[in-house]
């Protein structure tokens, strides 16, 4: 190893333990000037860096040099001056990991051209009744891009697999018809790209770039809400792609109708193709997901543990995976197979049902009123206007369902109403939810908000 290689290896090691800002500030332009008889002279560009390395990082540098050179170091000193092979910008170059380091799971490379992550495919997507429509729609889009469902609009809550399906579409198309060009992007990236284009006066270029793709996939479209110029450009790009029979896919956390401040012409286009929702997975699906994840990680977990996790984490697949990872990590650290007791301990602070306990009738009323833009006093008041009665009944329903309040106490929370009023409200909402899709979504959204931290 020559001096340059030694220094690169040392930097690679130090970069892991020092924050990026500091690393870039203090190691820019450094290098080894000479190394004779175990005496290393490190070249630094200026006195500030010299002082800092000498006084604050000498121990780390010495230790790293010691490891890299197998204890050939006796002394390290610092000198201001230019280095023959100075690294102008010490960002990761060939980095070598020391052998005794804990193996870190390798992240699959994301394809920089399409932004697709090959980890997400249809094969490893677990289908249950909550997501089968979305899954089927995505599969058919992947098989016949641009022909069947165009645009495809998928919506559902956080951590339920929207992004997984999007990547799966892209990956499938890439494998089966490699000549098609695909772009996976997020609305945030789209917006910042557009802002840059406006700044550089290159909007045409920007638009043409997007129009060239055969398949355009945009994640989290709800963030376009309120960004009128972006919506307008997206509208034009969309039209161009649509007229050329090219596939577009969008996701959002809510249906197009429920995205506030989005232009009608864009909304109607979203609704013009296929809309599919992903709901919360039911118990069996959650179990199947956990089994699949455990198998992916080649780790044996008993059904009892899977049941426990699936039972206690209900709303979000990402959390489900996180909980399983925690159990596995804990088991690996302690080097024994996980059992149900350990699982309970490990997950105690994740589960422990703090959410259910923390909900109060007041919190429910506040969440419902803020959702409908009312004040708590409206719900507790005497008005029997429809706009107020409906939220009031939803609040009663949620109190009953989520925190099991008694009917008399529900009545008294909402302005001293009779318990029969509360009973009627709960039954009415329960019945209506099955038939009225919009109401179901509203209640679901409120429920999600209730449990937001």
């Amino acid at each position: 190893m020559d001096n340059n290689q030694i220094w690169q290896t040392v930097l690679g090691e130090l970069e892991l333990v020092i924050s990026k800002a500091k690393f870039n500030t203090w190691f820019k332009g450094t290098g080894i000037i000479s190394s004779e008889n175990g005496e290393f002279i490190i070249g630094v560009p200026h006195g500030f860096a010299k002082e800092w390395l000498e006084n604050k990082l000498n121990k780390e540098i010495f230790a790293a040099l010691q490891r890299v050179t197998n204890n050939r170091i006796r002394r390290v000193s610092y000198q201001i001056g230019t280095v023959p092979h100075a690294n102008p910008n010490p960002l990761p170059v060939a980095r070598t990991l020391p052998e005794n380091q804990v193996p870190v799971p390798a992240f699959e490379e994301v394809d920089s051209k399409t932004n697709l992550n090959p980890r997400y495919t249809f094969e490893n997507f677990i289908v249950g009744s909550s997501n089968e429509l979305a899954h089927a729609a995505c599969q058919s889009v992947a098989k016949n891009p641009g022909k069947q469902y165009n645009p495809l609009f998928i919506y559902g809550g956080v951590g339920l697999g929207k992004t997984h399906l999007l990547h799966a579409i892209g990956n499938h198309i890439r494998v089966t018809t490699p000549h098609k060009t695909i772009l996976f992007t997020t609305s945030e990236r789209f917006t910042s790209g557009l802002v840059n284009a406006i700044k550089n006066n290159s909007i045409e270029k920007f638009k043409n770039l997007y129009m060239e793709y055969d398949v355009l996939v945009i994640d989290d479209i709800q963030f376009l809400s309120g960004k009128e110029k972006t919506q307008e450009e997206l509208f034009h790009i969309f039209n161009a792609l649509y007229n050329a029979n090219k596939q577009t896919v969008f996701t959002s956390d809510r249906p197009p109708k429920a995205i506030p401040t989005i232009e009608d012409r864009l909304r109607s286009r979203f609704e013009g193709g296929m809309i599919a929702d992903i709901g919360q997975p039911e118990f069996e699906t959650r179990k199947a997901i956990l089994f699949a994840k455990a198998r992916d990680k080649k780790f044996n977990v008993t059904e009892e543990i899977i049941d426990y996790i699936a039972n206690n984490i209900q709303h979000n697949i990402r959390e489900l995976e996180g909980a399983l990872n925690r159990v596995i990590a804990h088991a690996q650290l302690n080097d024994h197979l996980p059992d149900i007791e350990m699982t309970k301990n490990v997950l105690a602070n994740i589960i422990a049902n703090p959410k259910k306990k923390a909900l109060s009738p007041k919190h429910i009323i506040e969440t419902v009123t803020s959702f409908y833009n009312l004040s708590p006093a409206d719900l507790q008041g005497l008005s029997r206007k429809k706009e107020i009665v409906n939220p009031r009944q939803i609040a009663m329903f949620l109190m009953r369902e989520e925190i099991n309040s008694s009917f008399p106490s529900i009545g008294s929370e909402l302005g001293g109403r009779d318990h029969t009023t509360a009973m009627h409200a709960c039954e009415k909402i329960k019945d209506e939810i099955d038939g009225n899709e919009q109401l179901r979504q509203e209640v679901d959204l409120i429920r999600q908000r209730l449990y937001l931290p």
């Binding site: 800002a21 500030t25 006195g47 500030f48 002082e51």
Partner: protein, 368 residues
């Protein structure tokens, strides 16, 4: 840490160190000021890793320690406080400030994170009257290039040799050189390029009533200035400063002596008609008539001709100069009479004071 000091002292110290606070830096601690107790005094430091400023101020130290907090906020806050005693008390990374009925706590960063300002180990090499120094700085530093495309020209050249301190700056269109004589300099002659920004920071440190000596020390890559209780360490600009002396001619064809005010007024008036961007002004030094005619014309505005009386020796000649550069030079000369020297239409023009005060201002002509 617990310190009591006057609002006046603290405010003055903070306004000096605020000069070196790093802006839009990736390292958040650079936006902070380090407050330390040292030898019964209070020490304030800031740095942007190019320059570091430390100031010691008087105060009563009740408990030693250190803390770092956002410099901008602190100095604005202290500036707005009444002129009373201020108590600064730190607890971990938090600084409590109380002054009369005003109380505040500021969240800071661990002082261990604050960069160390390098110390210059070589001994003091030069000691100069601060008033002389700020005078030539104000006459020279403005001529440095404002863009960084040639980093050495964006700095100010400083030379210490014999018993002379020389400062020079040029943006390659004009050049200013100032010399202070009879300066105590020890050691071998030394040259350095100092960032122009350093001088504006120094002017701030020295202030109006410069009575003390300014001490200068130099290492290979840094220069340190010490004045009173303040010190400034700056990184030097790397590179070779152009050998500017060779463009200053020794002999001149034409030599004109002006009343400074008259010359300044004539150039200002005629300059109004110069072409925007070019700022070209035609000078005709007429020896028999003992006048200088200034002429400017632009197709959009019109024409203008002014005549200024002068004592002109040598040959009658015509040269075009950028009048703005001449105004800069005339404004930094303080004497009643100024000398303007020129050779031919392609040679540089030179402004000096009628007294030999070591200041030379050179302007390159606009060639036709």
């Amino acid at each position: 840490m617990k310190i009591i000091c006057t609002q006046e002292n603290l405010n003055k110290g903070l306004s000096i160190v605020s000069q070196a606070v790093g802006s839009d830096s990736t390292l958040p601690v650079l936006a902070n000021v380090l407050i330390q107790t040292e030898g019964g005094q209070l020490k304030l430091s800031t740095t942007d890793i190019k320059t570091g400023i430390t100031v010691k101020i008087r105060g009563k130290v009740e408990e030693a320690g250190s803390v770092t907090v956002p410099a901008k906020l602190l100095s604005e806050y202290i500036r707005s406080l009444p002129a009373e005693n201020i108590t600064l008390q730190s607890q971990d990374k938090i600084l409590k400030i109380s002054c009369g009925d005003f109380n505040a706590t500021l969240n800071g960063i661990d002082p261990e994170e604050f960069p160390l300002i390098p110390k210059i180990k070589d001994k003091e090499i030069c000691s100069v009257d601060a008033s002389d120094f700020i005078e030539i700085v104000s006459k020279v530093a403005f001529a440095a290039a404002s863009d960084e495309s040639r980093p050495e020209l964006a700095g100010v050249f400083m030379s210490l040799s014999g018993n002379q301190l020389t400062l020079a700056a040029t943006d390659s269109y004009r050049l200013a050189e100032g010399i202070i004589k009879d300066v105590k300099i020890s050691g071998k002659p030394k040259n350095a390029i100092v960032p122009a920004k350093t001088f504006s920071e120094l002017l701030h440190i020295i202030g109006q009533d410069a009575e003390e000596k300014l001490k200068i020390s130099l290492s290979e890559n840094e220069m340190m200035f010490e004045y009173g209780d303040s010190s400034l360490v700056t990184r030097l600009v790397e590179g070779q400063y152009p050998d500017y002396k060779q463009i200053i001619p020794d002999n001149f064809q034409t030599e004109a002596l002006y009343d400074r005010e008259q010359f300044l007024q004539g150039i200002k008036v005629t300059g109004l008609f110069a072409k925007a961007g070019a700022n070209d002004l035609r000078f005709e030094f007429n020896v028999p008539a003992q006048t200088t005619s200034l002429e400017a014309s632009s197709s959009q505005v019109g024409k203008n001709l002014s005549k200024i009386k002068a004592k002109i020796k040598g040959e009658t000649s015509e040269v075009i100069f950028n009048y703005r550069y001449l105004l800069d030079g005339l404004n930094s000369l303080k004497t009643e009479q100024v000398v303007f020297l020129t050779n031919s239409s392609s040679g540089p023009g030179i402004l000096r004071s009628s007294k030999a005060d070591g200041y030379t201002y050179v302007v390159m002509p606009i060639k036709q």
